[in-house]
C-alpha cells in the first residue's frame, strides 16, 4: 500500500530522517513509535506530501507522492500534529470545504459528511464555532476531515497528545474502530498506547528505523530472555555448582539463601532458553534436589524501546525489518 524507499530529509546539516525504508500493507494498524524529535512527524509529513524529501521515494499504491500527488493524495487522509482547523467556521462548514477540495460534490458530499460526523461522534457540536470546541472535539474533527473521501489509508500524527485521560481512551477506541475498515498509521511516543492499538510497530530513533514488526514478535526476537531465576533445595554452594555444570550456562549468581533453600540467577547463551531450563531441571533432579520455583525473565516492549532508542549514535540496535 505505502512503500517508503531510502527516505532522507536534511535541514541544513541536521539529518531529521536518514535512509528510511519500509512498506505498509493494507488492513493493519501501524504504530510509529519514537521519542520526541526522532523524525516521526517529518516522516509522516513527507509521506503525505506536505514536505519534500531530500532523497528517496514514497509510493502510495504505486503512485509517487511527488510525481503524481493528485492520485496519491486521494488515497490518504492525514491529521497533522496540530489539527488544521479554521477557527471561525463551524465543523459542518469546515468539512464541506475539505470534502469539496477532495472532489466530492452534491449528494455524495452530504452523505460522506453525515457519515464522518457520526463515526467521530461530533454531531452535538456541528453547528458550534470551532474556536469554542474542546481539544478532544477538535482532534475528532481533525480525524473526521481525514476520513472524508473514504481514503484507504489514514495517517494520524500524535492524535492523543494533549488530551485528558478520558479523551485519550475515546480517541484510541476510535482508532481501533477505524482499523477495521482502513489501514491506519499513527504516531505516538507513548509505548503502552501503541502496544494497545497496533498490530504492527515501527520504532524510529534519531531518524532511523530501528525495529519493525508485530509487538509480540518484537519482544520475542529483539530481547529473547536470557535469564532464569530459580529456587532449589541445597546450600548456596551446591546450587551454584549444579547450575554451573549445565551446558550454555555462562554465569550463576546466588541472590538469597534460606535454611535448606537457595535462590540463584542463571544466565545462559543458549539459543532457546527452554533448553537450559530443561537441562537445569534434570541436573537438579539427578542430584536429588528439588527445584521449588523457576521463572524466565520476560522482556517487554519498554525494555526494547529503551534499548533501541537510547543506544549511542553509531552503536545502534538491529536495523531494518526483522
Amino acid at each position: 500500500m505505502i512503500t517508503v524507499e531510502h527516505l532522507t530529509k536534511c535541514y541544513g546539516d541536521f539529518m531529521a530522517v536518514e535512509d528510511l525504508s519500509f512498506s505498509i500493507e493494507e488492513g493493519h494498524v501501524y504504530g510509529f513509535l519514537g521519542p520526541n524529535g526522532a523524525g516521526k512527524s517529518t516522516t509522516m509529513n513527507i509521506m503525505t506530501g506536505c514536505l519534500s524529501a531530500t532523497a528517496g521515494h514514497v509510493r502510495i499504491d504505486g503512485h509517487d507522492i511527488f510525481e503524481e500527488p493528485g492520485k496519491a493524495k486521494r488515497l490518504i487522509g492525514y491529521l497533522p500534529e496540530q489539527p488544521p482547523l479554521y477557527m471561525n467556521e463551524t465543523p459542518e462548514e469546515y468539512l464541506r470545504f475539505v470534502g469539496e477540495a477532495k472532489g466530492l460534490r452534491g449528494r455524495e458530499l452530504a452523505e460522506q459528511i453525515a457519515s464522518v460526523i457520526e463515526q467521530t461522534r461530533i454531531a452535538d457540536v456541528k453547528h458550534r464555532s470551532i474556536a469554542a470546541l474542546s481539544k478532544g472535539y477538535r482532534q475528532r474533527l481533525g480525524i473526521a476531515q481525514a476520513l472524508l473521501g473514504n481514503p484507504r489509508v489514514i495517517i494520524l500524527d500524535e492524535p492523543t497528545v494533549g488530551l485528558d485521560p478520558l479523551q485519550i481512551i475515546e480517541i484510541r477506541d476510535l482508532i481501533k474502530q477505524l482499523g477495521q475498515s482502513h489501514t491506519v498509521v499513527f504516531s505516538s511516543h507513548i509505548l503502552s498506547e501503541v502496544q494497545a492499538i497496533c498490530d504492527q510497530i515501527l520504532i524510529i530513533a534519531r531518524g532511523k528505523l530501528v525495529a519493525f514488526g508485530e509487538p509480540a514478535e518484537l519482544e520475542r526476537q529483539l530481547l529473547s530472555p536470557s535469564e532464569i531465576t530459580l529456587t532449589a533445595e541445597g546450600t548456596a554452594q551446591e546450587v551454584r555448582d549444579l547450575a554451573a555444570g549445565v551446558p550454555h550456562v555462562t554465569d550463576v549468581a546466588v541472590t538469597a539463601e534460606e535454611p535448606s533453600l537457595a535462590t540463584a540467577r542463571v544466565h545462559t547463551d543458549a539459543e532457546d532458553i527452554r533448553d537450559t531450563s530443561r537441562a537445569l531441571f534434570f541436573a537438579f533432579a539427578g542430584a536429588g534436589k528439588a527445584i521449588v520455583e523457576m521463572s524466565l525473565k520476560r522482556a517487554n516492549l519498554e525494555d526494547i524501546f529503551l534499548e533501541l532508542t537510547e543506544a549511542p549514535p553509531g552503536g545502534g540496535g538491529p536495523g531494518g525489518r526483522l
Partner: protein, 287 residues
C-alpha cells in the same frame, strides 16, 4: 480550485474584511464624485478614479494581509498541502475570491457615469475605459498583496509591508526625480539592487551559494557594461523607477488614452506575482 474559491469568499463575507474594503472604496469614490463631478461640475468621471487610486495604499493590504499569512499562523497550510489540490489551484482560488470581493464595489462604481449621464454630457468611453484600467490596477496590486502575505505568518506584518510597498510604488515617479541620473549613480544603485536581490534569494531559498553567485554575476555584468558603454546608464535609474510605477500607467487612461501596453504590463505583473506566491508556498515544503 472552486472549493478554495468558495471557501475564501465565504470567509471574507463572514469576517468584516469584504465590507470594510467595499465601504472604504465606495466612500472615497463618493467623496471624489462629490468634489469633482458635483461641486466642481466636471463631467469626467476618470478624475474621480484617479483621486481614489490613493486609497489602494491602505485597502489592498487590509484585504490581502490574511490571504496566506493566516493559513500559516493557524497551520491550516498543512491541510492545503495534504489535500489533492495543487498550490497553483490554491493561489488561483484565493486570488479569484479577492477579485470577486473587489468587483462588488466596482459594480456599484460602474453605475456612477450612467447616473451622471442623465444630467449632462459624460464621455462614457473614457469613463468606462478608466474603470476597466482601475479594475486591472487594483487586480495587479492585489496580486502583489497576495505575494507579500505569503512571505510571513503575521497578518500585521503583511499589511505593514504591503502599505510600504504600494506607497513606494505610488510615489516612485516623484521619487525618481530625486534619484541620481548620472551613469555612475545608476550603476551603483543597480549594484546595490543586485546585492539586495541576492539577499532576498538567500532568505527565500536558504541557499547561500546561489545568492552569492547571482549577486556576483549581476554586479560583474553591470561593471562590464559600465566599462564598455557608460552612456547606457545615463538616467537609467529614474527611468526604471518611473517604468515600474503601476499608478503612473493608470494616469494615461485618466488622460483619455486606452493604452494596451499598460494592460499587458498589469497582466504581466499579476502573472508574475501569482507565480511568486506559488513558489513561496511551494518553498515551504522544502525547508
Amino acid at each position: 480550485m472552486t472549493a478554495v474559491w468558495k471557501h475564501e469568499l465565504k470567509n471574507y463575507f463572514h469576517s468584516l474584511t469584504a465590507y470594510v474594503f467595499g465601504a472604504f472604496l465606495l466612500a472615497f469614490t463618493g467623496i471624489g464624485a462629490m468634489l469633482y463631478n458635483i461641486q466642481a461640475a466636471v463631467s469626467n468621471f476618470e478624475y474621480v478614479l484617479s483621486f481614489c487610486s490613493l486609497v489602494f495604499v491602505v485597502i489592498v493590504p487590509v484585504l490581502t494581509m490574511r490571504a496566506i499569512a493566516e493559513e500559516r499562523r493557524q497551520k491550516t497550510d498543512q491541510l492545503l498541502y495534504s489535500l489533492p489540490i495543487t498550490t497553483l489551484q490554491v493561489i488561483l482560488g484565493k486570488y479569484l475570491a479577492l477579485l470577486a470581493v473587489y468587483l462588488i464595489p466596482l459594480c456599484v462604481i460602474s453605475l456612477y457615469p450612467l447616473v451622471f449621464a442623465q444630467y449632462g454630457e459624460v464621455c462614457l468611453r473614457t469613463a468606462y475605459g478608466s474603470i476597466l484600467a482601475f479594475f486591472i490596477l487594483g487586480a495587479a496590486l492585489i496580486a502583489v498583496g497576495v505575494f507579500i502575505s505569503s512571505l510571513t505568518d503575521n497578518q500585521g506584518m503583511a499589511a505593514g509591508i504591503g502599505v510600504a510597498v504600494i506607497l513606494l510604488n505610488y510615489y516612485s515617479v516623484s521619487l525618481s526625480e530625486y534619484a541620481s541620473a548620472t551613469a555612475a549613480g545608476s550603476a551603483v544603485a543597480l549594484a546595490v539592487l543586485a546585492l539586495l536581490l541576492g539577499l532576498v534569494i538567500r532568505c527565500l531559498t536558504r541557499n547561500g551559494n546561489v545568492a552569492y553567485w547571482v549577486s556576483f554575476l549581476l554586479i560583474l555584468a553591470i561593471t562590464a557594461l559600465y566599462v564598455v558603454d557608460s552612456s547606457a546608464f545615463e538616467g537609467l535609474l529614474p527611468d526604471i523607477m518611473a517604468k515600474l510605477s503601476l499608478f503612473e500607467r493608470f494616469n494615461t487612461f485618466v488622460n483619455g488614452v486606452f493604452d494596451m501596453t499598460a494592460i499587458v504590463f498589469y497582466l504581466t505583473v499579476i502573472v508574475f506575482f501569482l507565480f511568486l506566491s506559488v513558489q513561496s508556498l511551494e518553498k515551504r515544503r522544502y525547508n
